[in-house]
């Protein structure tokens, strides 16, 4: 059966329809009632099915071309010349795969740990999945914005309903921060719409723009994406949101939602306002390096595991923006491609590692109901299997060669060497800092004597948790040892992007 013509629509709408189905099935208070079980099986089935469809995307994806693939184009609002315009290229396809890969794991992770309104919980994740895939597929500015904003609503509910103690503060901060960033992007879109007469992203890329317009548009985009990434100094919502969100929410937030910011830079900022990006590249690099170094130190001081991983996310995402904006500091052509590829690989890798780290904390939290490092110690004695996984993911987080964390960071560091020694020096500190804060946490949590009765009473991973962590561990190692398939997917698109960015639009 050939459904390649509507594959992207299937990927977007299948989970959303599935989410509505879950709401219709509903739940009752009994976790073991047949209704609850049907609902959860349906949730898992739909996310797995979506993943299967995304494998078809991978199979049929043509690595050789930089053009958009699986394109769907239908008129949506003819009066405003808005199109339902979808397509993927080497930048978006890996991120879609990441999304469809992580979501079933989140469903399994929340299988019976969610006691309050599980149907709404799973429905929110499914709808969120569809909307996130929509962001990565949309090639029409307005469609992009619709998915981009709509995505906030399920996440707002996930943190607010199923989150921790200060969840309301955290979720409002999350929503308002990201909303403020995005509305300015909307103004930029409408301005570009006024210039081109449609919301087509390719139209935006081809329209000539003056320097002032480019600078202003870049700032509008920067605010939207910097909040999402998040870059220093607009990162403060992230530690709050991560700490208060339920495990699944943290995983999705870290693994996929942060990638929206990076994706926005490569899909919109760089090609639409190349001269504006060139003008501000030094500024963005500075912010990225501050994130890498300063936030690394901040992470070192955290007492809360989730907060620590949240800060480590900010530091690692600094590599992504650094890689993207090195282009203008490098005179020869090869290094620029390396920086961008590195940034992209880092996004995928960080998605896997940070998701895994949050799941590890979730495993502990479900048992002890504390995220404080001080409440643990010697967990390896009672949970050997868990300890093995956590050590692996921590090594990956610290950028150990052979894990996915190494590949992206290494590429970006090499590229920054070509640009400026000090960039590379500062970026390189992450190898020390990352190792320091991650491994110090591991030492305090996993090793040493059994700290207290809670730790002594811990039970090792159950089958469900084992599967989730094992799948993630395999993928972290796979990307680390054999990144070629991932890099091959991106190559053609990134080459084209570099050409596009190199051309002035003035």
């Amino acid at each position: 059966m050939d459904f390649s013509q509507s594959l992207l629509s299937i990927l977007i709408w299948l989970p959303i329809a599935g989410g509505i189905l879950l709401l219709v099935i509903g739940d009752d208070n009994d976790v073991n009632s047949s209704r609850s079980i049907t609902m959860r099986v349906a949730a898992l089935g739909i996310t797995v099915l979506t993943f299967v469809f995304s494998i078809a995307l991978y199979k049929w994806f043509d690595n050789a071309t930089a053009a958009m693939q699986f394109v769907e184009r239908a008129s949506w609002i003819p009066a405003l010349d808005v199109w339902y315009y979808l397509g993927v290229d080497g930048i978006s396809a890996p991120l879609i795969l990441l999304t469809t890969f992580i979501t079933p794991l989140v469903v399994i992770a929340g299988w019976d740990t969610i006691k309050v309104r599980p149907a709404q919980y799973f429905a929110a994740f499914l709808i969120l999945e569809g909307l996130m895939i929509g962001v990565f597929c949309a090639l029409d500015g307005l469609l992009f914005y619709v998915f981009w904003e709509a995505m906030l609503v399920p996440m707002f509910l996930i943190i607010g309903v199923w989150g921790g103690e200060k969840r309301i503060y955290a979720t409002l901060k999350f929503f308002l921060y990201t909303f403020l960033g995005s509305v300015l992007m909307l103004v930029a879109f409408i301005y570009l719409y006024g210039q081109t007469g449609s919301f087509d992203l390719f139209g935006f890329m081809n329209v000539p723009l003056g320097m002032t317009a480019q600078k202003l548009i870049f700032i509008a985009f920067l605010l939207a994406f910097a909040v999402k990434v998040p870059m220093w100094p607009v990162h403060t919502w992230l530690p709050d949101a991560h700490v208060e969100a339920p495990t699944g929410g943290s995983v999705i937030l870290a693994a996929i939602m942060l990638k929206m910011g990076g994706y926005g830079f490569v899909r919109l900022s760089l090609p639409i306002v190349p001269d504006g990006s060139a003008y501000f590249s030094g500024f963005v690099i500075t912010l990225s390096l501050i994130a890498v170094v300063y936030i690394g130190f901040v992470a070192l001081m955290q007492k809360d595991m989730k907060k620590l991983i949240a800060y480590s996310s900010i530091a690692h995402m600094g590599f992504v923006t650094l890689g993207f904006f090195l282009f203008w500091s490098i005179s020869s052509g090869t290094g620029a491609g390396l920086g961008m590829t590195g940034g992209m690989v880092q996004m995928v890798s960080h998605g896997l590692i940070s998701g895994a780290m949050f799941l590890c904390v979730g495993v502990l939290y479900d048992r002890v109901h504390s995220r404080q490092i001080a409440d643990y110690g010697g967990v390896a004695n009672t949970m050997p299997k868990f300890a093995a996984f956590m050590v692996l993911f921590s090594m990956a987080n610290a950028g150990l060669p052979g894990t996915s964390g190494f590949v992206g960071e290494f590429m970006v560091i090499i590229a920054s060497f070509k640009a400026n020694f000090w960039y590379a020096f500062l970026a390189g500190t992450t190898l020390v800092l990352g190792a320091a804060y991650t491994l110090w946490m591991v030492k305090r949590v996993l090793y040493g004597e059994v700290a207290n009765d809670n730790v002594a009473a811990l039970e090792d991973l159950n089958q469900r948790e084992f599967i989730v962590l094992a799948v993630l561990a395999i993928s972290v190692l796979l990307v680390g040892l054999w990144p070629a398939p991932l890099v091959d997917m991106m190559n053609a698109t990134i080459e084209q992007l570099i050409q596009q960015v190199g051309q002035s639009k003035l």
């Binding site: 709509a150 409002l172 103004v187």
Partner: protein, 480 residues
């Protein structure tokens, strides 16, 4: 005067006749069977809607010696107003019955108010406009005071009446200046007179214009003439608030467009500045003060002020795109606001007004479906896609940007972010807080159905908004 005149005004004539029938028939209905009046009113509305459709003009028709106009703008606004009055009646019925207020007056005053709105919408002369406005205003004053044993309601009715009288006085004063300068009351003749003699475009005319703008700002509830609005929204019984918050906004839009565009279009550069000041103040004051409210009716009142800021900014552009955006925004805003008050009514019951934000706590546990509907409505008012409120905002921002006011566009979106907080607070109370009120929601099937349709409509319209935007654009183009 000939037959065409009467055909063009047939909807108003039909409505007036039917009101008289309902008025008399209501005398013979006792309180137990008061629902008869409700159904008679609905029938009257249906017949009026039918006569609107049957007499729909293909193009602009000016009748009654130039004092009355029937055009696509008036048709659409009237039909929508009829629809919203019907929805208000339906939402109100159970509430009135439960609170021993189920008299014929609510429906009759509502119908008279509708008559006033229809006259305003079709007015082509300042005097016709004034007559329609007063018909509407007097009905509203009485509606606010309908619960005569309620001191708050009486107080807000008094406040509304006194301030309304001052605004009417200002309006009449402005009308007399315009008449004195141009020598006519009819909008098209005013426009011709100004075009023919540019010398008229000077201080005396501007002086009159300023008073007209005071009238417009008062009717819309724009800052600094908004003082009545929060008090009336809060003081009136919820079905009355619902009525005031929905259909009259459409009439106010017609009022503004007829005066400023049809009549004084030549003075656009003069009134644009005044409108902008009023609009920006409304946007800021409305959004900021709404944050501090704990009463949802009052909060929605301040939110209405903020939304009026958007509508006026669209008109401020002075372009066809701007007028279309204003129309689109008003139509879609009214859908969302009617639904929101519908939910407030739904949560109320005998002796209990669900008017505090805290009364929404845990609604998701009481009724997931209506919590979802309320969330849709709140998100639409915030301007989150894919709900229709987003496209309303998009069109206004587009109009403002294409007129070259990038600063205003940025101000508008930032005001929306400020506004997002108080809409999100409703969602927060519904979803994140535990249930406090154990009572079961009481509402009849038809109310539940229409309320659900209303909630789904903001989503459905947001997904297929093309036709509505096309319609609004066509109407804007047909105006001159």
């Amino acid at each position: 005067m000939n037959l065409t005149d009467y055909i063009s005004a047939a909807p108003e004539i039909t409505l007036l006749g039917l009101i008289c029938v309902v008025l008399i028939a209501d005398l013979f209905v006792d309180d137990e069977h008061r629902v008869m009046t409700f159904w008679m009113s609905i029938a009257a509305l249906a017949l009026t809607a039918w006569s609107l459709v049957a007499t729909a003009p293909i193009e602009r028709v000016v009748v009654f010696d130039g004092s009355y106009v029937s055009d696509p703008l008036s048709q659409v606004l009237k039909l929508t107003a009829v629809g919203f009055v019907a929805i208000a009646f339906l939402y109100a019925r159970d509430y009135l019955r439960a609170n021993d207020l189920h008299k014929g007056e609510y429906y009759l005053l509502g119908l008279f108010g509708l008559l006033g709105m229809m006259i305003m919408t079709s007015a082509n002369s300042l005097l016709t406009m004034y007559l329609g406005l007063e018909t509407l205003a007097l009905s509203l004053y009485a509606l606010v005071a309908i619960d005569r044993n309620n001191a708050t309601a009486a107080e807000s009715a008094m406040k509304y009446f006194v301030l309304g009288a001052i605004a009417s006085g200002a309006l009449l004063y402005g009308i007399s200046w315009i008449y004195g300068v141009t020598g006519t009351l009819k909008f098209d003749e005013i426009a011709t007179a100004i075009a023919a003699n540019p010398d008229l475009n000077s201080l005396p005319l501007w002086f009159g214009l300023a008073f007209l703008i005071v009238g417009i700002a008062f009717k819309f509830g724009a800052v600094p003439f908004h003082m009545w609005l929060p008090d009336v929204y809060e003081g009136a019984r919820t079905p009355v608030t619902l009525y005031i918050a929905s259909a009259p906004k459409l009439a106010a839009l017609a009022f503004t467009l007829r005066i400023l565009v049809d009549g004084l279009g030549g003075l656009q550069d003069v009134w644009a500045d005044m409108i902008m000041v009023v609009a920006v103040l409304s946007l800021l004051v409305g959004n900021v003060i709404a944050i501090a409210q704990t009463n949802i009716k009052r909060m929605l009142g301040y939110s209405a002020i903020a939304h009026v800021g958007f509508i006026l900014l669209a008109i401020f552009c002075g372009t066809d795109k701007g007028y279309a955006a204003a129309l689109f925004y008003t139509l879609t805003y009214v859908v969302a606001t009617a639904g929101a008050f519908g939910i407030v009514i739904l949560l109320s019951r005998r002796g209990f007004e669900a008017e505090n934000l805290a009364d929404f706590k845990g609604l998701n546990a009481r009724s997931p479906w209506f919590a979802l509907m309320m969330m849709f409505l709140m998100l639409s008012l915030t301007g989150i896609p894919p709900f229709i409120g987003f496209l309303g905002k998009l069109n206004v921002i587009d109009a403002v940007l294409s007129s070259g006011y990038a600063g205003l566009a940025v101000l508008m979106v930032i005001a929306s972010v400020v506004g997002a907080f108080y809409y999100l607070r409703v969602i927060w109370y519904m979803y994140f807080e535990p249930r406090e009120d154990q009572a079961v929601l009481q509402a009849s099937t038809d109310t539940r159905l229409v309320l659900s349709l209303n909630g789904v409509a903001v989503l459905a319209l947001g997904i297929v908004p093309g036709w509505l935007w096309t319609l609004c654009t066509q109407i804007a183009l047909s105006m001159r």
